[in-house]
């Protein structure tokens, strides 16, 4: 999995409040589609049918409050990531969606950028500085905790756990041989 970049620039897709997981990835596909590439073909299907046709790698989703509310289905993160979305900036995230983004290595920023950017415009996220820049304003966002940044920096939870378990094994071997 690709390591996280500290600065992202992308073109904006803009949505409102309470974008739920059923419109991001409909429940009827949850047990019929398991290939991430196929999931991507249905991303945002019930909210914005143009999204899949026109999304380009590195595009950024900007939204209002409570993005990703509803189901715990991780496909609602995977389908956007596979469709090429580089990051999501929202006023707030539903908690399981927030965790799923971190665990899939999809960068997120929580701020009010939706107030100062329109669809199709360019936006910059500087993770080191904790700031989103739109054509009209700068929006600081709270830094993610070090524990969460470690998972994102590793490229997601699976590579993070792999590394951690390798570390545990190594320490055990060293302890055994000591």
């Amino acid at each position: 999995m690709e390591r996280m970049k500290s600065k992202l620039v992308g073109c904006v897709w803009k949505y409102g409040d309470d974008v739920n997981t059923d419109v991001i990835f409909p429940g009827k596909y949850t047990y019929s589609i398991s290939d991430p590439k196929e999931m991507a073909q249905h991303a945002l299907e019930d909210l914005d049918p143009d999204f899949v046709k026109n999304v380009r790698p590195g595009d950024i989703i900007v939204a209002g409050r409570n993005f990703g509310c509803g189901s715990s289905r991780e496909q609602a993160v995977v389908c956007l990531k596979e469709a090429g979305v580089g990051a999501i900036v929202a006023k707030s995230f539903a908690r399981i969606y927030f965790r799923n983004c971190i665990n899939q290595g999809l960068p997120i920023a929580q701020c009010d950028a939706a107030d100062s950017v329109e669809a199709g415009e360019e936006l910059t996220i500087d993770f080191a500085a904790g700031e989103v820049t739109t054509p009209r304003a700068e929006h600081p966002f709270p830094p993610l905790s070090p524990e969460v940044m470690d998972i994102l920096a590793a490229g997601g939870l699976i590579p993070y756990v792999q590394k951690k378990l390798e570390g545990d094994d190594k320490r055990e071997r060293e302890a055994d041989s000591a």
């Binding site: 409909p26 715990s72 899939q104 792999q162």
Partner: protein
């Protein structure tokens, strides 16, 4: 120092003297719940590169989402899960027909006061009704729990929701929680721990308390909890065989907000399409034509729910052109409904009784909708496309309102049924 329920459970599980909201803790869950998504989780577990579960005794696997299998794809999924469960030595496995995971988990003794339960389903909040700290997680982190036995959690801020007053006739816990969600909004409790208390909650059955905690997820809560009392202990008596220590918050714990409700004059509540917080009193939508009524799901598929419906439908017949689907939440509920004559009442009234499971709630099978159709449902979500069709509409209500509406062929006030 004084602490909330969330702080007390998480401090104990993290082996710390105390924790503060915002702090990240690494904890070892007592139970990990997974369902039809277990095969996908098992594949992620395999990618981590570990051969065996860190602790097979914490895993509870329930097949419920698409049961019995609807087609070859879902049949293969179930087959893969059965093989994984055998190979990993998971004993708490409940196959097709046992029921919905959020009903089966407590029935089989896997929820208890003070337990830390994580589940790869957003409605894992349900088990707070037994005094557990119970939270939904994603698939990848469920795989990580399988591999390591651990998970990180952020200690949440806490809200206390105090509900007082006796519920008017024909109303139930569903009306109460829909009213609260309508008031607080779909993100009104985002990332918060919600403690339900007050005399109305004390008077509620365990089944009704499960409705409150189940739907806490629909206002964004991390968990919902009703503190254990004599009813909880009696319910758990023949189900949980290990000693447990109840966790109760301190009276002066640091709550972000304390919100009071009085339900004495509450009317039956309905959530209109396509948002759970789009809530109105039933009188505002009375007469809305329906094609289908659904009584069941992890929110309202318990015996008391089916009994309420049977009382309204007994000796009568649903309106022509309406389908009434009834899904008992578990085998235990179905047996109770058979033995008490509830199933006979419902079937005589024209209901189609389906096997215990999630049914059409997530739009995969057993009663999906066509464009232009309207369902009144006792489920917890009415999002666009939820029941398989984005040009259909879902209204959420109590079992009494759904049953009264099935009789009328249109949304009806259960106080007049």
């Amino acid at each position: 120092m004084a602490f909330t329920f969330a702080q007390k459970v998480l401090a104990r599980k993290a082996d710390l003297s105390h924790v503060v909201p915002g702090q990240i803790v690494t904890v070892r869950p007592d139970k990990l719940l997974t369902h039809d998504n277990t095969a996908a989780i098992a594949r992620k577990f395999a990618r981590i590169g570990v051969q065996h579960l860190a602790d097979p005794a914490i895993s509870v696997v329930v097949l419920d989402h698409v049961v019995p299998a609807a087609n070859e794809t879902t049949a293969r999924n179930h087959k893969e899960i059965r093989a994984f469960v055998r190979q990993q030595g998971i004993t708490a496995f409940y196959d097709v027909g046992e029921g919905i995971c959020h009903q089966v988990l407590p029935e089989k003794g896997h929820a208890w006061p003070g337990a830390l339960i994580v589940g790869s389903d957003s409605h894992t909040t349900t088990h707070g009704a037994f005094g557990a700290f119970s939270v939904g997680i994603g698939r990848t982190e469920a795989a990580a729990v399988m591999a390591t036995g651990e998970i990180w959690l952020r200690v949440p801020q806490s809200l206390r929701i105090v509900i007082n007053g006796s519920l008017p006739p024909s109303l139930s816990a569903k009306d109460v929680i829909l009213h609260i969600i309508g008031d607080l909004g779909a993100d009104g409790a985002d990332y918060r721990s919600v403690e339900f208390s007050g005399e109305t909650v004390r008077d509620m059955s365990i089944a009704s308390r499960m409705v409150l905690c189940n739907m806490a997820a629909e206002m964004g809560a991390k968990n919902g909890v009703v503190l254990p009392d004599g009813k909880t202990r009696r319910w758990l008596q023949d189900r949980v065989h290990l000693p447990y220590v109840e966790v109760h918050p301190d009276a002066d714990g640091a709550y972000e907000r304390v919100i009071q409700y009085d339900v004495t004059a509450l009317a039956p509540q309905v959530a209109r399409p396509h948002r759970v917080d789009n809530v109105v009193g039933v009188t505002e939508v009375v007469g809305t034509r329906i094609d289908q009524a659904l009584i069941g799901t992890c929110t309202n598929g318990r015996l008391e729910d089916l009994q309420v419906a049977a009382e309204i439908l007994r000796g009568r017949h649903i309106a022509p052109g309406v389908r009434l689907l009834v899904l008992p939440a578990s085998r235990e509920v179905l047996l109770g409904a058979l033995q008490s004559g509830v199933i006979a009442d419902l079937v005589s009234a024209g209901a189609t009784v389906l096997n215990p499971g999630c049914g059409p709630c997530l739009g995969a099978h057993q009663g999906c909708m066509a464009p232009g159709e309207v369902t009144i449902s006792t489920a917890n979500r009415n999002f666009k496309g939820r029941m398989g069709c984005k040009e259909a509409e879902i209204y959420l209500a109590s079992p009494a309102t759904a049953a009264a509406s099935a009789l009328a062929g249109a949304i009806a006030d259960p106080r007049e049924a």
